[in-house]
């Protein structure tokens, strides 16, 4: 499973929505995630990719879409 697929799977699990959002779609504005679900998603990403995301990086801008999350993870690779 590639990075995008893994992130998509996490988003679907956290949102409880079987339909996958478009990679560039805002996870907030589309209603996939609310503010309280996002920390759960960040924790799931940390676990899946075995990284520790510093609090300073945990911003809505970096985690607003699957593409942005993938770009962030790429920057950490």
């Amino acid at each position: 499973m590639n990075r995008i697929d893994t992130i998509t799977q996490i988003v679907k699990e956290i949102s409880g929505n079987d339909a996958a959002p478009d990679a560039g779609e805002s996870l907030f504005e589309s209603g996939y995630l609310d503010s309280f679900a996002l920390p759960d998603m960040v924790s799931a990403i940390e676990k899946a990719f075995q990284i520790r995301i510093p609090d300073g990086d945990v911003t809505p801008r970096k985690f607003d879409s699957i593409e942005r999350i993938a770009a962030y993870l790429e920057s950490r690779a």
């Binding site: 920390p39 945990v58 809505p60």
Partner: protein, 311 residues
């Protein structure tokens, strides 16, 4: 550090504002307000009530309940993020109104986490000043209701004041340890100037709070070899019921262990934790012998922390 929480006091304005009073103005349902915040009503101060007058009322209530006289207070710390003037802050006036003589009066303009910081500072200051009176007082309703209304702000805030006496001697709950932290990287995400509206990046606040609050509590408990499940009660800043529930789940603690009154008072910023403590203390008589109580708060700055005390 040898310090004791002798007791608490509070003041809440008489005027009640239910969700029905806000829903039509904000174009949302009463149920939506309750679902996103846990709030059903809040208290609004009258035009004659100020940060100082509410602080004085809470301080007086606290001194009476603790049976501590004004002459015994060597220092007063007043936290407020909604005081109406740059300087002097409210502390000196509050000290005068309470008859505290020349007791040192310290202002903490920290908003929500202010009373937690106040308790942590007081626990270190009792050696020099004897009894320290800590007060959090907020008049947030003018901020919440400033036009144009922002529904994410308007539904949250209420007015009130809470107080605590911290002493170098008992009786009371012994302060075991405290951990306070700050991160200015997020200073712009929650701010209130003297002009204009409160500006809040709600997503950032929630994202940071849901990570930082459980972590600081866990760090404090770990360094005192105390499992979260062994804490009798958690007394947290009443920011949002959903946030409080999430912190409980993160710590793997039953939500019922977190005392909450946000349903009745809304978010009273730095006053809320002490108001909650006053209510829980009055009902339970404080922590049982050998039992622990954990305070925690998070707010603009960001500032956050936790304090552990035991009966």
């Amino acid at each position: 550090m040898t310090a004791y929480l002798r007791g608490f006091g509070s003041y809440l304005p008489a005027r009640r504002a239910g969700n029905a009073d806000l829903s039509a103005r904000l174009g949302v349902s009463e149920d939506w307000i309750r679902d996103v915040s846990g709030i059903e009503e809040r208290r609004y101060a009258g035009p004659e009530e100020t940060v100082v007058s509410m602080a004085v009322a809470a301080g007086r209530d606290c001194l009476e309940k603790c049976r501590v006289g004004p002459a015994d207070i060597g220092m007063v710390i007043v936290s407020s993020g909604s005081f109406e003037r740059r300087f002097p802050g409210p502390a000196a006036t509050v000290a005068r109104e309470l008859g505290l003589g020349a007791a040192a009066a310290l202002d903490l303009p920290l908003a929500s986490a202010g009373s937690l910081f106040g308790l942590a500072i007081a626990a270190r200051m009792v050696e020099a000043h004897g009894c320290v009176l800590v007060i959090g007082s907020e008049k947030m309703s003018p901020v919440a209701l400033s036009e144009p209304l922002d529904r994410g702000v308007a539904i949250l805030f209420g007015d009130g004041a809470g107080a605590a006496v911290v002493s170098g001697t008992g009786p009371g709950a012994r302060v075991v340890d405290a951990l306070v932290q700050s991160d200015g990287a997020f200073a712009e995400d929650l701010r209130l100037g003297f002009e204009g509206a409160l500006e809040m990046n709600g997503r950032s606040v929630i994202m940071q709070a849901t990570r930082k609050i459980p972590r600081v509590i866990q760090d404090l408990l770990d360094r005192n070899q105390l499992p979260a499940a062994a804490v009798e009660v958690f007394l947290m800043h009443q920011a949002n019921q959903n946030l409080i529930d999430r912190v409980a789940r993160a710590l793997n603690v039953a939500e019922s262990r977190f005392y909450t009154n946000i349903r009745r008072y809304g978010n009273t910023s730095s006053a809320s934790m002490l108001i909650a403590a006053e209510e829980w203390w009055a009902a339970a008589g404080g922590p049982s012998t050998g039992q622990s109580v954990c305070f925690a708060a998070f707010g603009a700055g960001f500032h956050w922390g936790a304090l552990l005390a035991e009966g």
